[in-house]
Symmetry: C2
Subunit: 199 residues, 2 copies
């Protein structure tokens, strides 16, 4: 029995080596906007374009976070903040793994998004405001949530009886009430090319 064999150097495979393997930089693309603005749809379309270019990508959204990691959280302001904090930390891990990770959450509070930017680092954080007029989002109402909020069946619904604080200086704004989804997704890809994040 040897007590010395843990002296093997604990050598971490660095983020830089993973980025080199993947042939692109890793970043967090943070989509924010009202319910029905098209965050998740634009994020999925963007991921498809990036994957088709051979890049390593992942999406974090309600579909894979709310029923798993954050299933213990509700929709109170405190729980929304903790929801965003955990998503932030997970997105940071994905960026560290060499991925381009796309997050699609309403994330209505400026303070929470700024905190996400600080935790992830300004360099790695790309805030994309998915902009559409409330009336447009409400007319889309893909999950019937605005209707329920207007009827008072859902309390604290963003845009109705809870605030949405628009980003002051997002890296990018995509207007889903003016451009179609694929155009919006291409605007995101163009941004990544322009910034030399992808080739």
């Amino acid at each position: 029995m040897s007590t010395d064999n843990l002296h093997f150097h604990k050598h971490r495979v660095s983020r830089e080596l993973k980025e080199t393997r993947n042939n692109h930089k890793s970043r967090v693309i943070w989509f924010t906007g009202l319910s029905g603005s098209g965050k998740s749809t634009v994020a999925n379309a963007t991921e498809k374009l990036l994957h088709d270019r051979g890049l390593q990508t992942y999406i974090l959204d309600g579909d894979n976070v709310r029923m798993g990691l954050n299933k213990d959280l509700g929709f109170s302001p405190q729980d929304r903040t903790e929801n965003i904090r955990r998503i932030t930390e997970v997105a940071k891990l994905f960026a560290d793994s060499g991925s381009i990770v796309l997050t699609a959450f309403i994330s209505p509070y400026r303070e929470d998004r700024n905190s996400a930017r600080q935790i992830i680092s300004d360099k790695d954080f790309i805030e994309v405001f998915v902009s559409a007029d409330l009336s447009v989002c409400e007319s889309r109402d893909p999950k019937g949530l605005y209707k329920k909020a207007r009827a008072g069946e859902i309390k604290g619904f963003t845009g109705i009886d809870a605030p949405y604080e628009e980003p002051n200086k997002p890296e990018l704004v995509v207007e889903t009430d003016k451009y179609d989804i694929l155009e919006c997704a291409n605007q995101v890809v163009d941004y990544l090319v322009e910034k030399n994040i992808i080739k």
Copy 2:
């Protein structure tokens, strides 16, 4: 303004497509064992071997989880369970992203590890018991924690005054008190090849 442009099909890039891109299956390799058993060292050595083969990998361990995602948690039994639950959910996301993710946590409770297996799915979960005699771990004491635990300065320390429940049926046992780190890491790689997870 169009209200119809969200009818773009929300097409997710599937895990299968990501696995195809990466040219290997994605799995969670769950290292468990006493403090000082060599979990993190074996995990890092394993990751190095996998990365050198061109695979997409990531490690979750105390270094990147305890000060980030789980910084609100302590070491009570409840907090340890929540610690493992969150790590489980994050590991599941990484597997879904096409990665081989290696987790290195003491994870002393059988129930927590079984819960991890259920959440992640039996197919995707590879439990690796990093085995070393307590006396060996204590003599290594890389962080001086056993000494503090013996002196009563740390309470609830696994192996001293808190239990470590050995796995009943781990997929693999690596004995760091009999083999050196690189041999142990190669045993993990050999297992992955044997099971056709990697080539």
